[in-house]
Amino acid sequence: MKYPIELKNDKQDIYYFKLRLALCFGFVFLLFFILLIRLLYLQGIQKNHYQTLAEGNRISIVPITPNRGLILDRRGLVLAHNYPAYTLEITPNKVSNLSATIDELSKLVDIRPADRKNFARLMADSFRAESLSIRNHLTDTEVARFSAQRYRFPGVEVKARLFREYPHHEKFSHLIGYIGRINKSELEQLEEDELSNDYRGSGYIGKTGIEKNYENDLHGKAGIKRVEVDAGGREVRVLSNTPPTSGNNLILTIDAQLQEVAEQSFGNFRGALVAIDPTNGEILAFVSKPGYDPNLFIDGIDEQNWRDLNDSPDVPLNNRALRGQYSPGSTIKPFMALAGLHYNKRSPSYSIKDPGHFSLSGSAHRYRDWKKDGHGTVDLFKSIVVSCDTYYYGLANELGIDNIFNFFSRFGFGKKTGIDMEGEVSGLMPSQEWKRKRHNQQWYAGDTISVGIGQGYDLVTPLQLAYATAILANDGVAYRPHLLKEVQSVRVNERRFPKMDIEFNLNLNQDHLKLVKSAMVGVTQPGGTAARAGVGAPYTFAGKTGTAQVIGMKQGEHYIERKVQERYRDHAWFIAFAPADQPKIAMAVLVENGGHGSSVAAPIARKVLDHFLLNKAPQSAPAMHEAKGGAND
């Protein structure tokens, strides 16, 4: 029968069952113990670590970019401003698969290969885990399309950012300069100056011109916002907020209308014009032609445009007014005349008979006058009016290079003017010592003679020549040329002016000055070299023409403009100041390959003077809108 077996089995079964159950219970206890250990570890021992991680999840520190200051001309016309636009930005460390995300984005928003390239460059340059722009200037449609799909793209955001814009494009390019992305070396510099905190989240810095020189004023300080964010990166609430400090607005000494007139007067010529108020050193116009569009540089210039600008024979990126070095030509004759009077080598009444050439005693070499047959009897007054070379050959020889060097150095030749713009070059005022050092040669008397008519080793920048002219116009009292008129702090409504003390006073003999100035007035009168430019001027204006040779002429060879290729034609100079008795403006005009100073450069000066002194607007008045105060937006 089964019965007894079953009973026995049952008892045994129950025993084994309970044994196994006890084993299970023990095992469950062990599992719970493991859980307990784990929870003790997480919540007891590692508590601080995980609390830090949770805070890091929760709190996000957002830098707030300060508004960059505006740049205005002396009348309040805006030369550089900011405008808001939408950008599409990616925070790379919040996105797992970057290229796939960008591919997806490109279905919603137009992303060109150039944008990707730009983004890759930003990635390489980015120094913090910050959001980087993949597309700027989104259209409203694109913003709407992305916003609808936003949940699909964690770590991608549309942000409203302020963009820099230069509304006048080429016109003030060399003056204003531009801003661009901060590069590695600039970042290192900022960190060294302990300014990197001010630049959190901005990413742009002034690269050239005013933008660079007054970077500290224009940039302002970044603010910081601590916000609580949710997992999607959306802001839940603001925990603390340090507002940014906006950059200061700059008011320049530049007269935009005057600059406009000057630029237009150049037509298609290349060249430079610097106009200074001699009574205080304010620069009224600062032209370098051709210019370029600074807007191209803000977010990194593309290859095509860069090649166009960089390879152009016109060298539009070269700031000619600041960095162009040219032979001064005859424009230095008024200064030579002053030197002659100063060192008593010439008296006002002393005159020479000009045969049309000059030779050193014991030498057959003929230094030719520009007028083949000479100017007849020439005294100091006439030497300037007709620009007699022979007169100055003799004078230079008698003065000697040491006197010339000393006297010209006082007018700032061969030295930086100290203008508030970076990159200025010093030109060249040669001396015996210089030649020894530079060419390892002794100074020859012939060198001095070339310097005497501005065709020797000496080189000037348009700015330098304008500065020297201003000193002359202001009777030897010099003010440092400068571009900044006023700094306006938007937040505290404070205004700051740069110092405008007299830089130095040459203490020249007033009679000498009067004579030279009257001779310069004669230049624009009938009989003078710039007589045509002076016709009908309702004010007296003083000037001096000049021609800087681009190619040397052999002995006995003649320069015929028509025959020379345009690029090898002489550069035309004209310096001027007006009104002659109480100068309000002094300037230097350079026209590259313009030929004679009288024919090209002097008319430009006349137009600028007319505008400045008579407020006679040019015929095709440019439609320039006046800025509404110093609005910072």
Binding site: F17, L21, F32, Q46, Y50, S96
Partner: protein, 365 residues
């Protein structure tokens, strides 16, 4: 008098100790769910409805006569199997898995039904053949287990498949399978691991890899574990306070009303709260073990043992995965997680457990 009698009959099959501890846990679940759902009353009300339905199931389970339970074992199992096959053909796909079956009024997860059908079927089978248990019987029982587990794993729903496999293995173990066979099975299992690995879905492999190093994909697959670990750890000893969990309320925690609800609780109530919760669980488990030891028949012993051990496994696997010591498999925290079907099945199981307890003497005589 009559009313009192009726009431006594009504509660006669319920176990007050177990019922009270289950009640406290369910209360906790309501409180936590309110926080986890960001104060969503609709969610909380739905959960309450689920609990009510589940309590009915508990009562039904407790009052079902055991012989009746044995009688329905085979039909339920076959029904469950049929539904699983139907899911394979007509199931609705959600989150890349075919788990739900639309039956007109609602969608159901047949796999959940198998959670009770498999141990029931196996316990019934062992009861039937208990006199002459041979290796052949164990093999057939194993087949009864493997069939639904394979179907569920293919859906794919690794979490449920593992849990059902576990509940069946407990039955096998408690049925008295010899240690030698278990060792053989274990060795075979270990040897077949590479084969299993090759049949796993990519996301399943990924989850296992994530356990080894969650940070290698911090925003992808590892995100769940990292964020829940942070939530638990940052809760500290006393917790951040009710409704103050930053990980919870700023959306960092995924699946926080269902599988990851333990992280919500831990963040807000800290280590102290966890000790309370684990103690409650342990209390329920202890009570269940006592009921199991007192069970009278082979069938009820196996059934009660499987229910108890499966309950423990759910708790361990869920807390283990949320606290980052086990891979992420979709396993809810019993009695706490939001979810109707699993709640109903769970309380039905506890009802059966209570019924077993009340019937111990009746059957013994």
């Amino acid at each position: 008098m009559i009313r009192q009698r009726l009431w006594q009959r009504f509660i006669a099959h319920l176990d007050p100790t177990l019922l009270a501890s289950l009640g406290i846990l369910l209360l906790i679940s309501l409180v936590v769910l309110y926080s986890a759902s960001d104060g969503n009353w609709y969610r909380v009300l739905t959960h309450m409805t689920n609990i009510l339905v589940a309590c009915t199931a508990l009562w039904v389970g407790a009052n079902t006569p055991l012989h009746y339970l044995m009688r329905v074992a085979v039909p339920i199992y076959l029904l469950g199997l049929a539904l699983l096959i139907a899911v394979g053909f007509f199931g609705e796909i959600a989150n890349g898995a075919r788990r739900w079956l639309n039956v007109g009024v609602t969608t159901i997860q047949p796999a959940e039904l198998m959670r009770i059908a498999v141990p029931l079927m196996m316990a019934w089978y062992f009861e039937k053949c208990q006199v002459t248990l041979t290796l052949k019987n164990y093999c057939f029982a194993a087949l009864l287990l493997l069939l639904p587990v394979t179907l569920i794993a293919r859906q794919p729903d690794l979490g449920t498949a593992i849990m059902i496999a576990a509940s069946g293995l407990y039955v096998l173990f408690l049925a008295g399978i010899s240690w030698r066979i278990m060792l053989a099975i274990f060795v075979t299992f270990m040897a077949s691991l590479p084969l299993v690995w090759s049949t796993l879905h990519d996301y399943q492999r990924h989850r296992i890899m994530m356990l080894i190093d969650p940070s290698q994909d911090a925003l992808g697959r590892g995100y769940h574990t990292i964020q829940s670990t942070i939530a638990i750890g940052s809760g500290g000893i006393f917790g951040k306070g009710y409704l103050n969990g930053t990980q919870t309320h700023l959306d960092f925690l995924p699946e926080r009303t269902t599988d990851f609800i333990f992280a919500v609780y831990s963040e807000e109530f800290g280590l102290i709260g966890n000790l309370v919760l684990l103690s409650l669980y342990l209390f329920v488990i202890s009570r269940s073990f006592i009921i199991t030891t007192h069970a009278s028949t082979y069938f009820t012993r196996l059934m009660a043992g499987s229910i108890t051990l499966t309950f423990c496994t759910y708790i361990f696997v869920n807390i283990g995965m949320v606290s980052g010591i086990l891979p992420v498999v979709g396993v809810p925290l019993p009695l706490i997680s939001y979810g109707g079907t699993s709640m109903v099945i769970l309380l039905l199981c506890f009802g059966i457990l209570m019924g077993i307890h009340k019937n111990k003497r009746i059957v013994q005589t």
